[in-house]
Every structure is written in structure tokens, then in C-alpha cells.
Amino acid sequence: MSTLLKVEGIDVFYGPAQALWGVSFEVAKGQLVSLVGTNGAGKTTTLRAICGLIEAKAGRIAWDGREISGLPVHEIMDLGVSLVPEGRQLFPKMTVEENLTIGSYLRRTKANRNRNLDWVYELFPRLSERRRQLAETMSGGEQQMLAIGRALMQEPKFLILDEPSLGLSPVLVQDIFRIIKDFHDRGLTTLLVEQNVSQTLQLVDYAYVIENGRIIMEGKGRDLADNPKVKEAYLGF
């Protein structure tokens, strides 16, 4: 399996405060990898650095062997990276359909816009029913579907999901996890960031544990799930 994304020793700062300290990890093609950790551990920051939303002061990020740190966000997206951000980050004053349409803003996906729309609607019939509704008026679960749908419109080669289960009812959480697994089965490379550690670790191929801006542990998902240290620190009960 070849490495798709390789993060090597990145340091990230917010103003004078350092948020990430030499974070390194990699994701191979077709893998489902997870980054777990508590609130404020640096997961979202790591993802922002990968997508070019924040600059890494040190270290490098490579995509398919090519250095991408320093590229503007839109160019990184053009490579085939898609992020479903924490808190969805939809465009609140746009309709569902507009939110999806802008997913295919990139030139390489524009031609397939209608086909992809149909596909996403098929995948999430809820969205199809509400295509004229403003995103801000939708429930949390619908918004999450929309955020995922929007990312799929980008025809990602590498899908990053940041806390997709946040704020969703348990039934919906199961749905989301099922979708993730489904994509994984189809061969989509995925990086999943979750607070819901136990369930995530059951699902993924490989996982990294991040704490206070540092990767402190890594291993196969199920191995980590059984690791008492992880349990004690993060599973709570």
C-alpha cells in the first residue's frame, strides 16, 4: 500500500501559543485512519494544517510524495482532499442545493455536477426532499448529511471527517458511522477524527492518539481500543 498523505513533524502556533508539537503520521491509500483525543488536544488544528487553513511553522506535509505545505487551500482541495469540518461549516444562507452545487466548484468536478447531485440525493434522500430549504433551518443531523454530501460533490480521493458525530442523536451517529464504513469498503481513503473513541477505534484500520498537541500513541484500531491506558484517559467510563 502506498502512502497518500504523510505528515512529518509539524509545529503549529496560534499567535505566540504553540498548539502542535512535531506531529507526524501517515495515511495509506484506501485506509481508514483515525486521530483521537480529547477536546482541545489539537485534532482540529492538525486537520486545518493539512488543508492549508493554517500554516505549519516547521515540518512538512506531503501528498502522494509531493510537498504541499504552503499551498493555498483551494489548490490542496484541487488535489482531491475534502474536509467535512467540525461543526459542519455550511453556508447558512444558501439552500441545500446551492451548498451541494458549490461542492462542485472545482473545474475537475464541474462536468459531473448533475450526475454527482443525483448521486448525493440518492445517498441522502432527506436532502433531496429539502433541496430548496436554507441550510440554517435544517436539523443537526440533516446538516451533517449535507456537509458530507457537499464533500462528496468534490469527488474526493481523500476524505477527512472532523467529529461527524458531534451533536447527533445516537441513531444518526450509527447512520454516519455506517456511511463511513461503506465508503471505506468502496476504497475511499479516509481520515476520521472523533471524540467518540470507543466506537471509532472499533471501526478504523489504524489510529493515532493525540494529547496536548503531541501524538502519544499509535497502533491498529482494535489494539488501541484494548489498551488500558487509552481507556483510562479517554473513555471515561
Binding site: 480529547t38 445516537p170 471515561g236
Partner: protein, 240 residues
């Protein structure tokens, strides 16, 4: 059981058409630590906002020490004896740690000198005496959360509402905060706490109130609640 210090009766809150809190009733007795739990979006913070006067309830009544308080302003409730913290911590970032607490102590100690003395006492109590002159903006998350508690304590409340004061802390910090909560309770302050980390809630609460989608689905002793199938399904979600 002692006379309830706080009583919610059929309290509802709607934002537009959405009912964030729906017909919730529960009591908190003097001296208790009560945990308020529920999945994200269950309405916990809204309940806090209702009790502390940030939002008026759409219907129902809230009484504190036997007096109806629904619809009263937060600063009036602070004067009556309700202190609260915020989930998203709001220190007065431009002020020093000491000033943050001092400005809260004016409620009981209008004179500058007394307020300062009280503020230092509170800082000692929450273990931040050494950081008094630091700007609040420079505190770590744990420090900020602790300062939030300090500000609420400086009001000398009878009831304190703690909104996720442990979430986001590392285990050591979390333990320190739990100790702090226990010592607050020991000093005679009734505590209503919202927390995500079940270990904390289950460990320190006398009673637990469970919300889901704005409605109260269970209340009782922690062990009891933890066995409640409705709670397990809604909250723990491990339906496998």
C-alpha cells in the same frame, strides 16, 4: 429530604418553533450536587440559561428558595444567590485574574478594599493565588475554567451552576477540578453541574437529571440512572 432550594415546574423554552426545553420539572435540595446530563443538544445549557436568567422561559415556573424567579434578570439572580459558569469560558480577558474575581465580589462587598480581600480569599480557595496578577488572557484552558468558578464563587452564591468545567482538561487537571467542586459543596454551596464526562458526574453527583431532546427522561441516583434502559439508549447509544 431537605426543602428544595431550586424547583423547576413544567418549564419550557422555545426558540422560534423549536422547543429546546420541553416541560421539564425537577428539584435541587440544599447542599446537594446534582448532575444534569444528556447528549449534545439535549437542552442542558438552555436549562442553565433559564435558571440564571439569560433566557426567560416560554412557560412554566422556576423558584429559588421558594420565590418565583422566572423572567428576572441575571444580575438580579446573582444578587439573590445564583452563580454560574459558562461552557465557553468567558474570562474578562483584558483584566488580571485578581480583577476578574474582584469585579464579581463587588456584589457582596461594595468597598474596594473588602472586595479585593474577598477576591484574594477566593483565589486562594481555587488554588490560583499565585496567578493573581497575571492577565486572564494568558491562562490555560484549565486556568480559565477555574477562574470561571472563582468568579461565580466570589458572588457568595447559595446555588452554583457549573457548565462543563471539566471537559477538555487532562486527567490531572480534571481531578483537581473535581476536588474543587467537592470542597465547594463542603462549604455549603448547592451545585448543579452539567458535564460530558460521565466519570465525573457519576462520581460526585448525589442525583442525576437526564435530558434528551429537551425533555426530562430520567432522574435519580447515578447508579439508578445508569441502569435505566431509556438513558442507556439515548445517551450511551451503544445499541449493539
Amino acid at each position: 429530604m431537605a426543602e428544595p432550594i431550586l424547583r423547576l415546574e413544567n418549564v419550557s423554552k422555545a426558540f422560534g418553533g423549536l422547543k429546546a426545553v420541553n416541560q421539564v420539572s425537577f428539584d435541587v435540595s440544599e447542599g446537594e450536587i446534582v448532575g444534569l446530563i444528556g447528549p449534545n443538544g439535549a437542552g442542558k445549557t438552555t436549562v442553565f440559561n433559564l435558571i440564571s436568567g439569560y433566557d426567560p422561559p416560554t412557560e412554566g415556573s422556576i423558584s429559588f428558595n421558594g420565590c418565583e424567579i422566572s423572567g428576572r434578570k441575571p444580575y438580579e439572580l446573582a444578587a439573590v444567590g445564583i452563580g454560574r459558569t459558562f461552557q465557553i469560558v468567558k474570562p474578562f480577558a483584558g483584566l488580571s485574574v485578581l480583577d476578574n474575581v474582584t469585579v464579581a465580589s463587588y456584589l457582596r462587598y461594595p468597598a474596594q478594599r473588602d472586595a479585593r480581600r474577598k477576591a484574594r480569599e477566593v483565589l486562594e480557595f481555587i488554588g490560583m493565588g499565585d496567578r493573581a496578577d497575571m492577565p486572564a488572557a494568558g491562562l490555560t484552558l484549565a486556568g480559565r475554567k477555574r477562574l470561571e468558578i472563582g468568579k461565580a464563587l466570589a458572588l457568595e452564591p447559595k446555588l452554583i451552576l457549573l457548565d462543563e468545567v471539566v471537559a477538555g482538561l487532562n486527567p490531572t487537571e480534571a481531578d483537581q477540578t473535581v476536588q474543587l467542586i467537592l470542597s465547594i459543596r463542603k462549604s455549603g454551596v448547592t451545585t448543579l453541574i452539567v458535564e460530558h464526562i460521565m466519570r465525573v458526574i457519576m462520581g460526585i453527583s448525589h442525583r442525576v437529571v437526564v435530558l434528551n431532546y429537551g425533555s426530562l427522561i430520567a432522574q435519580g441516583a447515578p447508579e439508578e440512572v445508569a441502569r435505566n434502559p431509556q438513558v442507556i439508549e439515548a445517551y450511551l447509544g451503544e445499541s449493539k
